[in-house]
Amino acid sequence: MIKYILAALILGGVAGYLDVNWATVVSSVWISDYLLNASLMLLLFVMGVVFAMDKDSISKIRRTGLRILIVPLAVALGTILSGVVSALILGTNVTATTAVSAGFGWYTLTGPLVSQVFGAKWGALGFAANFLRELLTILTVSLMVKVDKYAPTASGGATSMDTTLPIIVRYCGSDTLITAFSSGFVLSVMAPFAIMAIASLGHVRIPLFL
């Protein structure tokens, strides 16, 4: 299946590139906004049907209850820590790099927000890093599911409520629908606050005795 996904991604990329740079057949908004949203809404509808038809998945969710929120909190903590580690590896500004990470994969939010606080260069990085998080989640889902049933959910971050959700459910099973959706939802709500909170630490000098 990953072959088809890769083919569709590349085909879409080439089509989008040619459409903008060579001859505009359709306005790119039609494909990257309307078609994307329409297919996403249709998929959510179908996933909802499949989920509710399965008695096991509902009883599983009843058993977990609100403890399910531990998943997005673990993703948030892990991601923020990863931002600090990335800054140390890349030798970049710790707060700016961590703010970029704290988009949790939501690139259309992170790019503009980080750019406002840290400037256009950081905005571009915020967009690219979070976009790559989504792309890597899609491309590695078949490997990730072997590591852990909930690894793709963790990897997707905020995107596991929308763009990566159909693929996560396809590989990890219908019973992961609520875990993945709620994790993505909580992270999407947290992302703007996390970015702004980290950005406000900007003036704090973290003493590094390296």
């Binding site: 049907v49 673990a74 890093a129």
Partner: protein, 89 residues
């Protein structure tokens, strides 16, 4: 992304699925794969047509790859560690 756009179709699907329970199982596998491919195509299209993103990649691509990969690795490790506490098997 408007949350209502996501929650409304999901809830509507669940509502319908709940009442279809006693009916025989329908196999939606092929249909879902087809729509997933449309979704992935439009994602790719959005990337290919985003000149700003493509132009910034040579400058920020490597740093972005490091940040994204570490975010994924740390998230997976953290979730794996607390999975039992969350009541997931």
């Amino acid at each position: 992304m408007n949350f209502a756009l996501l929650v409304v179709p999901l809830a509507a699907g669940m509502f319908l699925g709940y009442f279809l329970r006693e009916k025989r199982k329908v196999n939606l596998g092929k249909v879902t794969l087809g729509i997933i491919l449309v979704l992935i195509f439009s994602l790719g299209f959005g990337i290919g047509s985003n000149s700003e993103l493509l132009n910034s990649l040579p400058d920020v691509g490597l740093s972005a790859a490091v940040i994204a990969s570490l975010a994924i690795v740390f998230s997976v490790i953290f979730v794996k560690a607390v999975k039992r506490k969350a009541g997931l098997e």
